[in-house]
Amino acid sequence: MTSATREKELKPRVEITQISGTEIEVNMGPHHPSTHGVIRFILFIDGEIVVRAVPDVGYLHRSIEKIAESMPYSFFMPYTDRVDYVAAINCNLGYALAIEAMGGLEVPERATWLRMIGVELNRIMSHLVGVGALPLDLGAFTPFVHALREREHMMDLLEILTGTRMNNNYIRFGGVCQDVDDEFLKKLEKYLDHFVLFLEEYDRLIGTNKIFIERLKNVGIVSGEKALSYSFSGPNLRASGIGLDLRKVDPYCFYNDMKFDVPVGKGIKGTVGDSFDRYIVRIEEMAECEKILRQILSKIKEGPIQSKVPKKLVLPAGEAYHHTESARGELGYHIISDGKSASPYRIKIRTGSFASMTSLAEIFKGMMVADVIAYFASLDIVAPEVDR
């Protein structure tokens, strides 16, 4: 693309809005097909162009952080599933690691491997929903169903691993809730052989589609600087060209030993940090997850899955901020213990979706209504994670 045409494409469309000068207020949400849950935008549009946008969240606020203060530490584990139900084990892991760090609990080696299997499988599932819902919001229904079909297979695998399909509640302090046999590992390997083919096919089906590319390239550009300023994390931050992955820069579990790349948005179709980059980063990240899973399969060994943990867990007084790489970015648990009671004094959950939401009001400005959908879908936001 020549620089002149690129400049033309990148020019904001706001200028045109001054023709009529009248704007109408439309309510996108809380019940709208493309807000992925109960999120609401108040859009002030002039024709098709958004002049001003006010994101409104909180429709799914369950005050999980308040609930946590009234129950023992271990009782809160199922609630973490509900923070991000698409990548539940990721949320389990962040919470368990924070508590284990505070209480100095040991985790057996096999339990960590199993945790990593669960987390990476769940990350693939979550990204499948993300890249599946993106074409759905652009009007193509079929890719969504294909992505969900693969997710179903993985749910079957997770059912063997954890006993449930969603909201797994798999991880315990100092271990995991149940072990698996070698049969499962073989099935997982067999599935990964298939998944590589599927991923390649899916990307060929969607990522090379001219309309899909045109709808996403140069839409909702978030530069690296902007992304840092909006506290983007996870795939959204990496799509903006900043290769920060907490599994690399602040390794937990056995991610130190894993060999994997951190995919970064390169702007292959448009500008770095546009919506297409966010799509392609997720696709590449799924391939990386597959690599990690194979390495885990080659390294996992027999052993205990649960260490000794006191039934009534009272953590020493103090606080911890522990963050892990969830499917939607940095998942941080800020936990304060008063050292006396068996329940946390305060838990603050920092989620990737909430941080991604902070960019909406500014990025939406000057977009067309259809681009609003495309940008929002490319962020892959899960509403309960925003509201908690």
Partner: protein
């Protein structure tokens, strides 16, 4: 990421040299794994400006802002006052090493300067704290409730929060009381 010890010393020196002892700051390598910079609440903007804009530090990435209501005296002597504790987590955009800034606010009329001009996301984090804890951020560009409806009364994450029996005519409690589960 564990904050390198060399960095820590440099940070302590910096804070001292820039503010010449005016800021009541101390650096604690707490059990949070990340260093905590304890400061006086009225210096928040100065310190944030330092850690964000100083060329040796460059903590431009705001991870989160957390807040806690400390209602009763606790065993740990560092947490012994009543009031609100603000907890800012910043990260370096290069190596993602983190730094926490901690400050305390009085229990009645908690107020602190906003830092929403340092980060695009700070406003939302502050709004959440304002909504759930009732901490007032001075000079904020847009301080509204975020999670709860605008006509909600009270701030639920305060320890002394009592839920009203009705909200807009809708009862907030069930008729048959569910027994609270406790492990003793």
């Amino acid at each position: 990421m564990n904050f390198p010890a060399a960095h820590l010393e440099k940070l302590a020196k910096l804070v001292d040299s820039v503010y010449n002892g005016a800021v009541s700051s101390e650096i604690v390598q707490a059990d949070t794994k990340i260093p905590v910079l304890k400061i006086n609440s009225r210096d928040i903007r100065k310190v944030v400006e330092l850690v964000v804009h100083h060329k040796d530090l460059g903590f431009t990435y705001l991870n989160t802002i957390s807040g806690t209501h400390l209602a009763e005296t606790r065993e740990d002597e560092s947490l012994d006052l009543k009031g609100f504790e603000m907890f800012y987590v910043f990260s370096n955009s290069q190596d993602f090493s983190s730094l926490a800034i901690k400050t305390t606010l009085p229990e009645n009329n908690p107020e602190i300067d906003t830092i929403d001009d340092f980060s695009g996301s700070a406003n939302w984090f502050e709004r959440e704290i304002f909504d759930l804890l009732g901490v007032n951020f001075k000079n904020s560009q847009d301080l509204r409730r975020i999670m709860l409806p605008p006509d909600w009364e009270g701030h639920p994450l305060r320890k002394d929060f009592k839920e009203g029996s009705h909200y807009n005519g809708i009862p907030t409690t069930r008729s048959s009381e569910l027994e609270a589960i406790r492990i003793e």
